[in-house]
Each structure stands twice: as C-alpha cells, then as structure tokens.
Point group: C5
Chain length 354, copies 5
C-alpha cells in the first residue's frame, strides 16, 4: 500500500500528464460532502465521485473533502466537472509541490502543508499536502489520507456554533487555513519543549548522542521552514486579492491568520538561532571535558615523572655511589621527593588547575 513514486518517475512524460507523486497512504479515496446554509446542514459520504456533482449548482455552501489522492481517475473526473485547469490537477497529485496560490478568476487554488510532530527513534515532522479549490459557493479540499486538523471546524459546522454557517465558502476556507496555522503552533510547542529538555541535558552531560538529536532538530526545523515560509506570501496575496470569490469582510480574518503565520516564522527563526547556540555549547562542553582530562594527565605526569627519575638514579648499579651507603640516604631521598610533590601541588594551585 505504501508504494512511493518519486518526481523522477514523472520525467519523460509531456507536461500536463496526470501522475501521482508521493506515497500512497490509504486504500480507497474517501469523499465527504458537507452542505450548509444558515439552519440547513447536511453531511454525507459519497460512494462515487459523481454524487458530489449536483452540489455545484445549489446556492448553499458545499465543502467536498477528498481523502486519498493517489486515484488519478477520481481527480480527473472532479477536474472535468468543476472545469479545473490541467496544471492545477497536476499540482494536486504532486505531493512534493511547494505551497502556492493561483487565481483562476472563477476559483482560487491553493496548496498547503499540514504538519505533524513525530518522535519515535528520531524526531520527525511529517507533512501532509492539502489543496483547496475555492469557488463562489463551494470549497473542494484534497488530502493525502484520512485524519486532519479540521475537526474543530467540522464541529462548528455541525453544531452551528459561531457565525460560520451564516458566512460563505471563503469564511470556510479561512477557518481551515486558521486550523492549519494553529496546528503549526502545536508542532512548535513540542519542538520548544524538546529544545528546553535538550538544553538542560547539554549543560549537565554533553553526550555525543545529543549531537545527533541537535542535528535532527536542525534538519526538521529547516524542513518546517520550507513548508511555512511560502504561506507568508500566499496569505498575504489572499488578503489583497481582487476576486469575486473572497469577500471584503473576510479579509480582516485573513489578516489575522497572516499575523499568526508571521509569528510561526519568527518562532522558527528563533529556534534556529537557539539550536545553533546549542551546538556551540555542546562543542565547548566537549572542549571543557577534554581540558579536564588533559589536566589530570598533566598533573599526574608532571608530579610522578620527575619523582620516578629520582628513583631511577638510585636504582643504578654503579659500584661507587656514595649516597647509597649513607645511613639516612633513603629517608633523605623520600623527603626530597615529598618536598617536590608539595611544591608541584602549590604550583598547580597557583595556576588554578584544581
């Protein structure tokens, strides 16, 4: 089931060829339709793609969510019925697509990444691609698999909480965007906790394994950065867009998401700074330890090598060595060695090696 297609599998096909790039993450695509307006609310799972076509014409707001994008035919049918540009379909299928926004007059197309923090053997931030097609009164969302960060929005729709049912498809799109960006804060919170945990460990015991974890954190932060940075531009463009699809009254909400995106980006940059600071601390700690080790060796060596030399002298077998015959020669030598020892210790104290 988890067969993976790389971008290289697509090279060699003419542009416009619809080919799914990425892992296949579920068995069968699942299509969910939510249709609402004020008091009206309907939610159903479509067995076939065709079931969602009639909703296009109704004046109510319709949210069609497709989980699983590996089935090219489903995407093609939707594309045909909703009159979507072939390049757009290509982007939906390519899960390595960079987040982007495209304005096709009748509808707006955007690709985003949902992020999940995983910590098993390694630390890893997993990305799931979500594409939105936002029309005047419909929103189609494409996800790689079941499970997302939109449950609060679904609850709001079902229970009619807040004003969401009274507003249009653009407000729905904003709510989903908001849920995605809010989820970024969750991921960052977990990374933040990990960083704090690492910092404490670093100072106490600079284990070489920490270096690996620092490197992993750094790599995942770089990865997250790539997924989030383009959002700044996307939401900024959305907020300034001149399209019948996005109402003026919705734009103030988009500005709010924009602010949150900036905050996410700033936190990412701060984390980068802190992580590179951690590397410095790690390296200095290692250096300090080395220093300490060398000091011990040097103290031991500096004390005992000269003393051993003295014992060597009186271990020589010369026939004529007057000191050897002295009665207190042995004790005199012991005394001399003691004095040298004490002198050394004072020297080290003065040098602050203890």
């Amino acid at each position: 089931m988890a067969s993976e297609k790389k971008i290289s599998d697509k090279v060699g096909f003419p542009p416009g060829s619809l080919i799914h790039i990425g892992k296949r993450k579920m068995e069968e695509p699942k299509i969910t339709i939510i249709d609402y307006q004020d008091e009206q609310f309907q939610e159903k799972i479509a067995g076939k793609v065709e079931e969602c076509f009639p909703f296009r014409e109704t004046p109510t707001v319709t949210w069609i969510n497709i989980d699983g994008i590996h089935d090219v035919k489903v995407i093609e049918k939707i594309g045909k019925h909703f009159n979507l540009h072939p390049l757009l379909l290509e982007d939906i299928l390519n899960t390595t697509q960079r987040p982007k926004l495209e304005d096709f007059e009748d509808y707006i197309f955007t690709v985003l990444k949902m992020l999940y923090y995983k910590e098993e053997k390694d630390i890893r931030i997993e990305a799931e691609q979500v594409s939105f097609v936002l029309g005047a009164n419909f929103l189609i969302s494409f996800q790689e698999r079941e499970g997302d960060v939109f449950n609060s929005v679904r609850e709001g729709l079902r229970e009619g909480k807040g004003s969401i049912r009274k507003k249009g498809a653009d407000y729905l799109a904003y709510s989903l965007l908001d849920a995605i960006v809010d989820n970024y804060f969750l991921v960052l919170e977990k990374i933040g906790e990990k960083i704090e945990f690492m910092e404490e460990k670093l100072v106490k015991n600079p284990d070489p394994k920490l270096l690996r974890t620092i490197h992993e954190l750094k790599r995942e932060i770089i990865f997250m950065r790539r997924s989030v940075w383009p959002l700044r531009e996307i939401i900024g463009a959305l907020e300034k867009i001149d399209s019948p699809v996005v109402k003026e009254s919705t734009k103030i909400y988009l500005r709010d998401v924009y602010d949150h995106t900036i905050q996410v980006i700033e936190t990412i940059e701060t984390f980068r700074d802190i992580i590179s600071g951690m590397l410095d601390i790690y390296l200095s700690s290692i250096n300090n330890k080395m220093n300490e080790i060398m000091k011990v060796l040097t103290i031991i060596g500096t004390i005992f090598i000269p003393l051993t030399f003295i014992t060597g002298i009186y271990g020589m077998n010369f026939v004529y060595m007057p000191e050897l015959g002295w009665k207190f020669g042995y004790f005199a030598v012991l005394l001399v060695m003691l004095i040298i020892l004490i002198g050394m210790i004072f020297y080290f104290k003065k040098k602050k090696w203890f």
Copy 2:
C-alpha cells in the same frame, strides 16, 4: 493563582472563541479611569466594568486602564460597549501575541510588550503584554497585571505638567508608547553593564560557567529582539496613518519615538555582535589554557623521559657492564644528564615555550 494556559489549549476551538492564553498574574482585574481636559482632571478606580461606559460619550479625553486580562467577561463587556471587533478581543487575551497594529477606522488597535530585566539565578527579560485601543477621545489600555512603566505619564496628567492635558487621546497614546520605548533603554543599559562585567571576567579567568551566562544573554537578546523588531513597522505605520484618530501635529512626536525604536534595535544588534565575539574570546581562552597545560606536560616529559631512560640503562643487571666499575662513572652520568637538561631548556627557550 499562577495557572498558565498555552496556545495548544486553544487549538480545537472555532476562530473567534475568547480564551485567555498565558499566566494569570493577579487575583481580580482592576479598572482605573482617568478623565481630563485642560484644567479638568478626574481619576477613579471602577468597581464594575460598567462604570467606565458613560465616559465614552463625554468630549473629555478618557484613559481606561485594565490591569488583569484573565477575566474574559470583563474584556467581553468592554468589547461590546465600545463596539470592538471579536478578533481584537482575541488578540488582547492572547499574551503570546506578536506586537501588531490594526486600523479599524473608528479606532486603532495595537499590541506591545513592556520588558523588565530580572537577574536572579539566571538572566531573564520578562515581557508583559499591553494592548491599546485608541479612539477619537478615549484610550483603553489592557495590561496583564498591576505595575507598569507609565507612572511618569500619570504624574504629568495629575499635575498638569507639560502640555499633555491640552492635547488629545492620540498624544496620550504617544506618551505611553514613549514610556515603553524609554523603558527598553533601561533594559539595554542593564544588559550593557552585564556585558561589560562579563568581558572583564572573560579575559581574566575563562570559567566554564561564563559560557552558560553568555548563552543566556544571547537567548534573552534574541527574545528581546522579537519583542522590539515589530515595533519599527508599527510606529512607522502609525506615523504615516491616514486616520481621524491621529492628528497631524502628533506625528512629529511619533517620528521621534520611531527614531528611538531604531536606536533600540541597533543597540540590540550591536549586543548580538559583541556577545558572539565574547564566545570567540571564551573559546580561544580555553584553547590557550589547554595549550599552556600541554606545554607543561611536554616540557616535563621531554626533559625527564630521556633522563629516566639513562638511569634505566645503568640499572640493568648485566654481569659485564664496564662503566659501572669506573670510579667516576656515576658522576659522569650525572654530568651528562645535567648537560642534556640544560640543552633542553635552551631548546625550549628558543622555541619560546617559556
């Protein structure tokens, strides 16, 4: 009392839900009203929120200050009476909010950070969020707890010093902004003193503990930077804003605060440079110390290992070793060893190891 809510506690609520994020820093919100115009001046503490509503209609300038924002109901009532946008109320309640400015035509909303330098076990810069709602003739300020940097402004109002009572709510807002930015200089002054103190210590005695303090300073500077950078944009926008709320004559004062903000930012950047320079010095000092230690070991080893070898030779028990029988063999060996010793010392002198 110090219960803390994280941003993750808010995920799962629909957008627009009013939830306080951050630590609860005081028991009960405290509402203070200052009302003035020219000679007129009135200051009172409101027992209930409703007491401050009548001031909205009066032509005098009214400053309503709320200490403690954890009580969502108080914020909601004010929001309702003063006709504030729900997103604005959300931002007031979220103490992790990035500094921002929002122009709602009838009023201007801005979020800022007051900073305090703390040095207990660690060095820490504490932030308290302040939000301002600036209307034509009123200013509402929201703070996390009692105690702020606005006392000089309050004194000015009470005593009618300067021209502040003759000017409008926008000048009051400027005065508060000015007090916040002036306070940044205080924080920077203290960091500057700490840096100077550290620099002296670094050169004299590169203690591994200093590394920790350098890292803390660096982290707090990064933190301060995040709180101050957005101000540049905010005050810049305020100075160029086209709103009935901000008079032209006030803008020259805003330009002055803008200049100060730039100066704060430049000082922060300078401190970052200096701190990273301190890290370099620390590392080199550690390196130097290592060098010195190795030199001692090498000198001792290089002198005594060969000498010990010579004593070893004459400590061998061969039956036939002619030198052993020589009358001055022992003294000759001592002499040879002395010559080697002196030669070594000359060699080290030449190499400048002393």
Copy 3:
C-alpha cells in the same frame, strides 16, 4: 577533439568578434528540423545549414535544433538568414555565458544550462549550454553536443500526444524549459540520495575521506546554484513579457515552470544548509574520537605512572632501606598498589570516563 578555449583567448579581439569559448564536444555540427502544425509533422536531418532557411517563411511551427556550436560559420549563416543581432551570436558561442533573457522585439533570446549528475572518482555536475531563439513561428535551439533532455518533447510531437501540435512555438519553448527544469529535480534527487548516504556514514565512521566528499558536494551545489538562480529572473521576466512572440494563454504554463524553479532553488538552499551541518557533525565526531583516545591514554597513564613510581622506590639500591628486609614487604607493596588501582578506577567511574 576536446580542445578547450578559455575566455582569455577572446581578450584582445574587438567586441562583436565571433569566437567559440569552451570545449569542442563533437566532430561535426548536426542540424535537425522538426516542422509541424495540427496533423502535419515532418522531421529531417539537414546536411547543410541552408536547408533550414525555407522553413522560416512557412506558417507551420518549425524547431531547428543545432548540436555542436564550435563551427562558427554555421552559427554565422543562421544569424544572417534569421537576422540575429551579433551580440546574440557571441553569447551562443560563449559556453561560459550566464543564463540570460533578451527581448529583440521580433524574437526572444535566452541562454540556459542543462545539468547532468556524474559520479566517477569525484562527484561532478556537468553543464551543457542551450540557447533558444524564439520567433513568431519558429524556435532555434543551440546545444554543445548531441544528447539532451528533450526526448519526451520530441516523442510528444511525433505521436501528437497532448495538445502540443495544436499550439505555437511559444508552447514548444515552454515544453523545452519544463524539460530542463524537470531534469534539475533529477539531479537534486541524486544529490539528496548522496547526502542521505553520507549522513549515515558520518555518524558510524567519520572517515577523513568523507570530508573531501562533503567539500565536493558543497562545491557542486555552489556551481548548480549559479546555473539555476538566474532562471528565476528569466522565467519571471518571460511570464510578464509584453511581446507578440509569447501568447497570453502560454503564460499560465510559464508560471508553473516558475514555481518549479523556485522549488529547485529552495532545495538547493536546503542542501547547502544540510551540508554545512554535516561539516559540523564531522568535526564534532573527529573531536569526540580525539577525546576518546585521550581518555584511554590518560587512564592508562594515571594508573600506571604512580604505580611505576612505587616500584622505582623499592628498586633503589640504598644500603639501609628497612622495608626491603620485611618478610611481607613485597606483598604489602603489591596490596598498596592494588588499592591505588581500585581507587583510581572508582575515581574514573565517578568522573564518567568509562
């Protein structure tokens, strides 16, 4: 055949002199003509340059591809017939030319790089320069040698797949651009695999040879960066160009290639970050190993140097050394040395040196 001309060989000629700069990569230039429109399709290899001149006047779309640009006369003849600016011809001949776009009203000229990943003794990214002259209904492409990344486009043309035969020369140019950028992804995929392979090796066994490979990767990434960065600007300009040669309907496709270029650039930047992180890991690993080595030496030295000193004492030949005569003197000394040994081991355990 592989004679190479450097840019210095051109210095000293007046501007406008046509001189081939670079390696000569094939024997004879090869000219291929593809002419098509809807159902019509013709492909032939021209024996002489003049054979491709008549196609200029036909209303069908003509793609003239020249493999081998070292024959200045061929280039000159084409330049004359198609009325190309001398500076343009100079750029075609100079294979060290930076990617660029030039709008000559009647035609658009662009220089690009095709990249190939080679891994023999070293890792190397090879570049081949391609120049395009795009007219209203013709496209002339100049390559350094046979073999390129355009086979999928040729197949599409031959078999009439997709809509390419129904569209103009500008769509053909887009298809070729798209093939070039798609190929960059292939190169990046291979570099990505190499990086992953290196990362695993780095952690397991930090071999000094890895340092060389890291350096090679870094250098090639820098090289690739230089070839790809200007594309951003080029395709961006092409997408916004106001020229009769590029139809409005083609621009949405160009925007798609633009997005891919951005993605290529971002991946390159990410790789740079990761590679410099690898260098840090390598250096720390080396440092760790050093540490470990020093620890072994220190442990051995610290244990045995004092013990050897004790044996030295009782190896002295003083006449009067009372301990020597004791019955259990020898065993007492052995016991003392054992106690010292155990003490040392405990000390090292406490210091976590094991």
Copy 4:
C-alpha cells in the same frame, strides 16, 4: 567636571523635558559667531547668548557655534529665539542620539558624530555629537566641547579662499559635513595601519594578547559603523530634499559627500571582513603551535618509552636470566636500542613529522 548622566536618568520625566544626557566635557559653554557675505567678514565670541540674536535678521550668512551643551538654559534660550521645536532641543541635549535628519520647513535639523581615534591602553574611537540647525541664512552648530574638525572651513572663511563666502548657509553646512566625513577617512587610515601592524605580528608570533586587540578593534569598528551608517540615509535625503533652505546648486556637492560616505561604509565593512579573517588566522596559528608541541612530546615519548621498557627488562632481579651472563649482552642490548632509535627516526621522517 566629568559628571555623566545616563539615559536612565531621564526615564520618569514626561516627554519634552530638557535634560542633558552624557558627560559634561567643559566648564562653561562658549559661543562663537561668524558672520560673512562676499567681502564682509566678522568673527566674535559672545559673552551672553543674547548677543547672537540680532544676527538672525541680517541678510548676511551667520554661523553660530556653541561648544558645550550641558547648560540647558543656553540651549533653551536659543531654541526660543530661533523658534525651534522642543523635540529638536531634546535631541541636541541627548548625546546618545542616533544621527538623524529632520525637515522643519523653515529650517533643517541634523545630528551627526565627529569621531576621533585614541590609542592609549586600549584602542578606542571617541565620538562627539554635533547638531546643526540650518536656516535660510544662518547655521547653528552645537558641540559637546571645544576642539573640532572644522578649522579648515574657518580658515577658508577668514581668508576668503575658494568661493565659500560667495555662497549661502547651505554651502557652509556642506563644508562642515565634508570636513566631518573627511575626518572619518583619517580614523580609518589609522585603523588600517593598526590592522596591517597586527597582521604582521599574527603570522610571526600569535600572542594571546593579540586576541584582545583583535576583539577591541572589532568592537570599535562596530561602534564606528553605528555612527556612520545612518549618514548614508541622512545625506541621501538631504541631496533629494525639497526645501527652500537647500539650493539646487549645492546638491551636486552633497552627492559628492554621499559618495565619500559610501566609501567610508565600504571600508568599514572591508575592515570587518579582514578582522574576522585575522581571528581565523590567530586560531589556526594557536592550533599549529599546539600541534608542534604535541609532535615533540610524541616523538620523545615514542622513542624513549619502548627503550626504557627494555632497560626495565634487564633491570629485573630474576635469579635465572641467561642474557645477563652473556659477555656482550650489554652491548647487544645497546645495539638493539640504537636500531630501534634509528627505525623510529626513519618512521617519523616518512610521516613528515620533522
């Protein structure tokens, strides 16, 4: 006399309060008036501030120079008579003010820094703040103390050299600006000489004291950078200003100063690069020295430790050790040791350790 006021002494006062911030550098303020036009020239020292007031009305160009700004009353009186904005007076008094330009329609206000290179115990760049108020036919300059870089301008005025007396107050302002920027070149020249001197020393003998000097140079360069960078913007704005105070014909001169400022900035950036390169060299030199030391220890240890072991063997007191009785046993052992010694030396030669 050298009492110093910090910016923190001002916090707590309402905005607009006139307080001197900085060191008091001289006893009494000194006011000098230079008045000229074509052939006319008059220079006098004013005993009281009021003496310079009448010059405001005359059609001649008047330059009022105030040395010493700690006397708030003097500044206040001038401010009142010349109708200067209170914020401007605040900036004049605050010697930590960032260089700035403010256009008040009737007059232009600018704050700059004069820099002096000092080398006593440390290297230090001292800054003195100069503020200019440029009106239609007067220029008021405020300095912290007597002594400046304007003597060449004064000479020019006194002797009527060049065309300065024929031009207006704006040309006078340009001349002073030019003198300030020219003086930056002097400071840079001295820093450049210091850098050259350091580079030579670094290669010859990497003394730990050099590290300190490198750090000082770096810090002072950072300091200088902060004083000079804003000038770029200031002179750029001055050159493009639309004000009756600056004539068109003067702007070409301002463009020239602008160019010089850019050159100063570039030199500063180059110096930063070179200084950080010096740090690298220093660290590598230290590393090299360490290497050399370790090599000596290793060579000595590697040669003598095994040899000492051999002597140890024949120093054992076993009753039955056949070699001891051999006639040439002693010489054989000496020979073996010699062979080992020579072998070692060859090994080291091969490893290029000599």
Copy 5:
C-alpha cells in the same frame, strides 16, 4: 618617483582643492590624441596640453588619453577648456576614489578601476584608476600610468576593423568599458587557477604556509569585490540614462557589458565561498593530523607503560620475593607481557585505531 600621498594629506584643505592622492607612477604625463570618422583616422602624441583643444570643435570623434595624473596643472587646463566641474577634477586626481558615474548633462563622467593580477612573494591584485569624460563627440580618459587594457580597441580603430569607426564616442566608451570588464575575467581566471592548485595541495599536505596564501587570496578577493561591485550600478545606470551623449543603439551593447559584470560579481562570490570552504578543509586536515599524532603516542604509551610497570615490580629489591627464585619466572613474565601486548593490539584493531 614613487612618492605616495594619502587621503590624510588632503584633510585640512577646503573642498574643491585640487590635490593628487596616490602614488606617482610615471615621470611626465603623456597625452595621446586619436581622431577618426569613417575613413578618416589620425593619431598623435601631444607635446603640450593645448594641442588637444582644437579637436573639441571638430565634428569627428576624438579620444584624448592622458597617462599620468599627478601633474595637477595639466588636469586643470583640460578642465578649464572642456568646462568640467571642479568636483569632477578632484575625483580624477584622487586615486582612492570609489567607482562612480555622474551625469553633467553635456557630458558623462565615470571613474573605474583596471585590475592586474600580480604574483611575486604575495598574491596581489593591483588597481589602476581610469576616469572617462564622455561628451557628444569626444572622450577624455585619464590613467595613472602608461600601459592599459585598451590595445585591442586601438588596433580596431587603426585598422578600421568592425564598425567602430562608423559609430560615435559613446560606442568608443562602450568598447573601453568592455575591455576593462573582459580583463576582469583574465584576473579571475588566474585566481581560479591558483585556487585549484591550492585545493590539490591542501588535501595532500596541509602546510601552515597554505593558511597564509588562503588569507591573501581572501583579502585580494575582498579588494577586487570592492572595485567591481559599484560597476553593476554604474553600467546599469548608463544603460538606462536619458542623455544626448548616449545613443539608444549603443544601449544594447551596454546591457551586454552589464551581463558580464554580473558574471564577474557572481564568480567573485563563488570564489569567496570556495576559499572559506578551503579554510574549513585546512583546519580539519590539521585536526586530522593532530589526531593521528595523538594516536601514535597513545598506542605506544598504552602498550609500554603497563609493561614497564611489570618490569618495575621485578626490579624491586625486596629480600623475600618468591617469583624471583623460580626457574622459569623470567620467561613466565616475558610471556605475560607478550600476551598483554597482543591483547592491546587486538583492542586497538577493534577500536579501528590502525
């Protein structure tokens, strides 16, 4: 002859004073006049400055080249006759002038640097300043000494090759610019060769002398960068200038030089990256060598220190040491030591120290 004047020698003179700054590089200024139009061509060396004045009025294109700018009077006379602005003359005389472009309506003034690569004891890039005054039908060029990079242009003019004689003074200026920029490629080629040579050496034998050369390369690259960067702006401005002096048809040529300048800048940046990579490699190589040395010491020490200890035990002179009397005691000890030796070697093999 090689007297040098520094910028500090000029400080103290009023602005507009004409003073030569830099080294005097030749005896007497030499003035060469080339006058041409279509078939007409004349070249002569002027004995006196005045000889070139009549050419100003002729309709033919005149190129006046002055080698040697230390003679202020010559420059002054030309300035007077051609009506040049005094600031321009100042810039010509100041050889530390940053490259710049100034449009004086009737003529355009530009300052550039010709660069020469020198490798004697050190690597050095020498700069010679060239200034151009481009009028409607004349071009005056000022150089510091005889010898330049314009010979190909002179040949073209003499022999009437290409179209240069048919075009105006602006095309002549372009040709000279092109020659200067082409020459930068030559310098870069030589630096590139040096870098390649260094890289090979670095891997084979990281000699401390290489560090010095790396530093020199870095410094010269920084120097070259400063001379070339401003060109980007200058040629960019020239290409967009709206002046009667530069014809529209010449601008496409200028765009070509612009492209080359960008390429030069990019190559410089790439070289910077590679050189800083070389420093990393150098440091790691040094580190590796250190490691290797330490390994040898550790192996020798770890093997022989314990063995020597054993010999020490049996070298003690206790009266009662049972092993000493055993018949095979000596051989048993030798065997034990052999076993320890083999064990150690196995241990090192396992640790991959061989």
